[in-house]
Symmetry: C2
Subunit: 382 residues, 2 copies
């Protein structure tokens, strides 16, 4: 339901794998690149926006979680990284608040500071939905760590993780419907539609992983990634726009902007999953290939009709063995054009996203925050 | 998140286990007992109300499910019993629509036919929430059959069943928030609160089953049953009342009525789980005891401080073996007072529920539908 992969958050990864962002920049994917130092992103516009979003959202997010019955609260607090399983304080973080930041930046871009303030409930609701999907995805995917901590199901069991996720979805809807803002009802409907799309995306992903690699098409992989990763980023931007009283056209443009940025993120994350530096990604080199993950560059290679693509398909049809040459497999993806395709697609999606944004927000300065966040999401895990 | 047990629906069980309803009647649990033939409940008021509720709710329920993306729709249609896994038509039924019937009967009791019509979206939303919890409960409890059909997770896998449940929760909220009725927003908040309570009830139940039988208290077992079974029946009645523009006091009274009826159902269902006729329950005699289920009569016996209760605790501390004398265990529960307590509690809860109802609906005829449904839920599985 969320980004296909969650890599460990390593501060040293802040600038992404060398060359990748450069490639995008060269291809002009990021319009109006900001003068932010790559080595100090926290001082950049994105860093400030994320910090401000976390500060604006956290009190209401914690209040919402605190309102849960004790048993569910315990699981949720652990998941958010606020408490250990025994209830003691935790040093963990609650993630980077990229989605709330998109809600607030979108509201500010179209409606200024007051609109930004009014959109806080929507930002909290989006963050609750994101975390509900993380709780459930971890159960389904049997992922054992998240944000450097054991996942909820490994600590509390499947049932508690499923139930805490269910409760967070209910909390998200409760927060929006209880909000007195005139658009909160429309926002709640849009968020519910988004949840359904996230579910469809996660379902497509799990189904795809079970299928014969030669039968998966690039179009369906892109559609899956858009539903799983793009939909909530799009919804976040759309909700922020809604809270400014924007026209339906502008709301849809902001949605398209967020979706495009989300898909660009997924494409780049998939590239990092194959060629990323293990010291930066926190995962062994070629882990995605060893796991036979049908990531976007891989499917592009498999469907390329090239000899390298056919050789890759043969490898993907066999189970991974210890002695397998993952470097050779990565070079097959590259020779089949998977890497270039993914990078070009990411640049193209981002360019189209920026076009959508400039339609809805014609004043360049007003769009700066959203652009900084979009650039940020394509440079690290979100 | 729902009733602790789901027995096979056996038409021959329509009159409940012999003597049980009689006991309740004798104890005066059911005020104003209706002149319904026990052997022909479908001709009774309850049967008519359930039939009418199904007819009113089904078109919108099916439309809501049809609006889901194909993969989720397939799982949901199978779960509702409308389609087989391959998409072909199914002869299965979609359950007895008791919760939608409570919504509609509550609206009619306080506001007449027009209010009943307006409350249909709330009835559909409650049915969607109920089915979302069934999908998830079956995954957590590893239940393999429901409504005489294989459960979703056994057919489609855990991930699809979890995702279909998530989508049904979103659909329920979407339906209420998109409804233009002036109270739909308040109703959506109330439904979200109910979902959280259902989650807490299911969590308490799964946690309780893992605990030492000597450490479980009767109060917490009753609280668990109220959250797990009573909350949604209460919410159904409350939503129906809301749609008539009833006062907060009356809405709360209807909630209390539904909760009481739900708890009475659970108490009686637990009695049936021990002493019910296997030919009627569809489960082997003593199955709950063999499974060491901490049902209400069992916990009453375990906490009775009687020699029989202590002997039962010893048996519950040992794993079940083939040669175990389940009849003897049942007699221990009985001698420890568990059976009498449960029957008296059920009668008491129902009497208090009826009191609540008569406060909000003073005209006896107007309350007839709700009373018929309450009597019905305590006579068969819901």
């Amino acid at each position: 339901m969320t980004e296909t992969r969650h890599r460990a958050t390593d501060p040293s990864r802040a600038d992404g794998p060398p060359g990748l962002v450069g490639t995008l920049d060269r291809e002009g994917g990021f319009a109006r690149p900001r003068a932010t130092g790559r080595d100090a992103p926290e001082e950049s516009g994105a860093g400030t926006l994320l910090h401000r979003a976390r500060a604006a959202v956290d009190p209401r997010l914690r209040a919402a979680v605190d309102s849960l019955p004790a048993g569910l609260r315990r699981v949720a607090r652990h998941h958010f990284g606020w408490r250990e399983a025994d209830g003691s304080a935790s040093g963990g973080g609650s993630g980077k608040a990229i989605r709330p930041a998109l809600v607030l930046a979108s509201a500010e871009a179209l409606g200024g500071g007051e609109a930004r303030e009014s959109a806080v409930p929507a930002a909290v609701a989006v963050e609750l939905v994101h975390n509900f999907t993380l709780l459930h995805d971890d159960v389904m995917d049997r992922d054992t760590t998240r944000r450097h901590r054991p996942t909820a199901w490994t600590v509390f069991g499947d049932a508690d993780a499923i139930l805490a996720g269910d409760a967070l979805q209910a909390l998200a809807q409760r927060l929006l419907t209880a909000d007195s803002h005139p658009v909160s009802r429309v926002a709640a409907v849009r968020l519910a539609d988004c949840v359904i799309e996230l579910c469809a995306g996660q379902q497509a992903d799990t189904a795809m992983e079970r299928r014969d690699p030669r039968e998966v098409t690039l179009d369906e992989t892109l559609a899956m990634a858009e539903a799983k990763t793009g939909a909530l980023l799009g919804c976040a931007c759309a909700l922020g726009a809604l809270y400014t009283g924007a026209t339906e056209e502008d709301v849809d443009a902001l949605d398209a902007f967020g979706r495009g940025a989300g898909l660009a993120f997924q494409l780049i994350d998939d590239v990092i999953g194959i060629w990323g530096d293990p010291r930066r990604t926190g995962k062994p080199a070629g882990a995605d290939l060893a796991a036979r993950k049908k990531s976007l560059p891989v499917v592009a290679a498999l469907t390329s009709g090239t000899p390298a693509g056919r050789e890759l398909a043969e490898s993907y049809g066999r189970p991974h063995r210890q002695e397998e040459d993952l470097e050779h497999m990565a070079s097959l993806v590259e020779r089949a054009g998977g890497r270039d395709w993914a990078q070009a697609q990411a640049a193209d999606r981002m360019a189209r996203a920026v076009d959508e944004l400039s339609r809805a927000v014609p004043v360049p300065e007003a769009a700066d925050g959203l652009l900084a966040l979009a650039e940020f999401v394509t440079r690290r895990d979100i």
